[in-house]
């Protein structure tokens, strides 16, 4: 049965190494950075053009007197004027900072609570069965619904703002982590176990890093929810002692029937929301995806 025929085929190691090096060179993916000009043309130009178009339509509505009532639609110039005034009086940054500091601090607390909660729901069956559905259900509850009870429980103060942010953001962050953990390929878990990563080690070295993309998506959504909840809280529960944030600014504009101020506040809320996402969360997400080869360039 045993075959013992000798085959005299000379094959030295160098030959194999050379063949292998050739294969490696042929099959390796070439990666390089995009040139800056291409990025500008493909990523920066389109949104700028879109914004300019919106401004042009807005200006046209006012200029051609299609909407001829400054209390309904102020001109872009009037809004710019209000913004400029606020800036010159040194109030603009104050409005922004009041809201952003609340938003980020609230988000930070939401992160501290949402992360272990998500991990617990993802890894412990009983906990998942008990609160998993509630947690995903909470995501569809508009966070503005939490404002009245929060005011009654905590009064008109900063704690109430933070409570509303937490109730809005914690479910998103926790759910992001849960879906991240659920999507960890079973192969990684098996590979981790054969390497000796079991129990807490498995969670730390395999499950958490593998779940990172889902977690970051949850953070991104969590920030959006934090910011929305905060604006709802600031608009509904505006109280002079709390300091003027962007939500209060909007409410003050409404009370004064000052449409330019209302537009100013809306623009600022939108800008801050986009800026935080663009400066913090999108780069974080891109970095996570790119380092894993999950980001398709194009």
């Amino acid at each position: 049965m045993a075959s013992t025929e000798t085959t005299a085929k000379d094959k030295d190691g160098g030959d194999l190494a050379g063949l292998e090096a050739g294969l490696d060179a042929l099959e390796t993916v070439q990666t390089g950075r995009r040139p800056l000009r291409l990025t500008l043309r493909e990523k920066v130009l389109p949104p700028v053009v879109a914004a300019v178009l919106v401004l042009a339509v807005w200006q046209a509505l006012v200029s051609f007197e299609i909407v001829d009532d400054p209390t309904k639609l102020p001109s872009p110039g009037a809004v710019w004027h209000v913004l400029r005034e606020a800036w010159l009086q040194g109030e603009l940054l104050g409005y922004i900072w009041t809201s952003v500091s609340r938003g980020l601090l609230g988000f930070f607390f939401a992160l501290l609570i949402g992360t272990p909660l998500g991990l617990l729901v993802a890894r412990v069956k009983v906990v998942r069965a008990a609160i998993g559905p509630i947690l995903s259900g909470l995501q569809s509850l508009p966070s503005v619904a939490w404002v009245p009870p929060a005011v009654i429980w905590l009064g008109l103060n900063n704690s109430m703002m933070y409570a509303v942010i937490l109730l809005g953001a914690v479910p998103s962050i926790a759910n992001g982590l849960v879906s991240g953990v659920d999507q960890v390929p079973p192969l990684f878990l098996r590979a981790g176990r054969t390497l000796g990563a079991t129990g807490l080690k498995g969670t730390w070295y395999v499950v958490l890093p593998a779940a990172l993309p889902g977690y970051v998506a949850g953070l991104k959504q969590g920030w959006a929810f934090s910011w929305r909840s905060l604006m709802a809280a600031e608009i509904i529960a505006s109280f002079p002692d709390l300091g003027v944030g962007l939500g209060q600014l909007l409410e003050n504009g409404r009370n004064a029937s000052d449409m330019a101020m209302v537009f100013e506040a809306i623009l600022l809320i939108l800008t801050v929301g986009i800026a935080i996402d663009l400066l913090i969360f999108s780069p974080l997400e891109r970095w996570v995806l790119r380092s894993r080869g999950l980001l398709v360039k194009g």
Binding site: T6, K9, A191, Y205, G293
Partner: protein
């Protein structure tokens, strides 16, 4: 039973076998009640031996490998291994959030290798699989063959006496697979590892192994065994490899044909 056997082996000191599989059966709960996947498998892998498990679909060869790896428990019988075996999969199973080198270093870390030794050891292992300089490469930057070599280096980092391989080259193109056969043979001979290699590719089995074990399907039983005496270096196109492959293929076809008859 498995643990007592393992302890007994520890007591002797130098193990007389890398893996001992004794009367192992495994059944899973299926739609038609309990389904027997492996039936009374008894197989020893000697220290330094290269054994391939060959079989068609449904022979339970991957199940058997999982049992030996300790990822699952047998329904009956016992398995003992000389330490915890390393396992390589058909997919590379490298962690994409780590670089090639860091994947290997994680294996070293989990084995308790001190931090200051890990980097150097990882570089050595990469050199062993001829990937010098790939330490900082991301997994997605490597070709399929390179990924499997990093996976091999990571498995070797576990310093197990037994390497389990679950069709590790099945997803590669023919030339790359051929090159990796040569590499695996070289590394096996250099490291004196025991290898239990699962495949459905007869030529691959003959090209690599000292012993080919043919499993029948549904349930998996050991059908026949061949000792392969063809000296290394072997080539996939060698006449001796081809002749034995023909013989084994005939047997394998016979096994498969039996399933169509009832």
């Amino acid at each position: 039973m498995a643990t007592t056997l393992a302890k007994a082996a520890d007591g002797i000191g130098a193990a007389t076998h890398a893996a001992r599989i004794e009367h192992v059966s495994k059944s899973f709960a299926g739609p038609a009640g309990q389904q027997l996947v492996l039936d009374d498998i008894t197989l020893d892998v000697a220290p330094g031996e290269f054994v391939t498990l060959l079989g068609a679909s449904g022979c339970g060869k991957s199940t058997l490998l999982n049992l030996v790896a300790g990822l699952d428990r047998p329904t009956a019988g016992g398995i003992s291994t000389d330490g915890r075996p390393a396992l390589m999969f058909q997919e590379h199973a490298l962690f994409p959030w780590l670089t090639a080198g860091k994947n290997i270093e994680l294996a070293l870390k989990l084995r308790g290798v001190p931090k200051n030794e890990r980097r150097g050891r990882a570089e050595e292992l990469l050199e062993l699989v001829r990937l010098k300089g790939a330490h900082g490469k991301r997994v997605h930057e490597l070709s399929g063959g390179m990924r499997q070599r990093v996976a091999l280096a990571r498995a070797l980092a576990q310093e197990s006496r037994l390497l389990l391989m679950d069709e590790p080259f099945a997803a590669l193109d023919a030339i790359t697979r051929d090159v990796l056969h040569d590499e695996l043979t070289r590394i096996w001979r250099e490291t004196q590892l025991s290898v239990l290699f699962v495949t459905h590719n007869v030529r691959e089995a003959v090209r690599l192994a000292q012993r080919v074990v043919l499993l029948s399907s549904r349930p998996g039983r050991i059908a026949r065994e061949w000792t392969v005496g063809i000296p290394h270096p072997r080539r996939i196109e060698d006449t001796a490899v081809a002749e034995l492959s023909v013989e084994i293929t005939e047997e394998l076809r016979g096994e498969i044909r039996r399933h169509g008859q009832h």
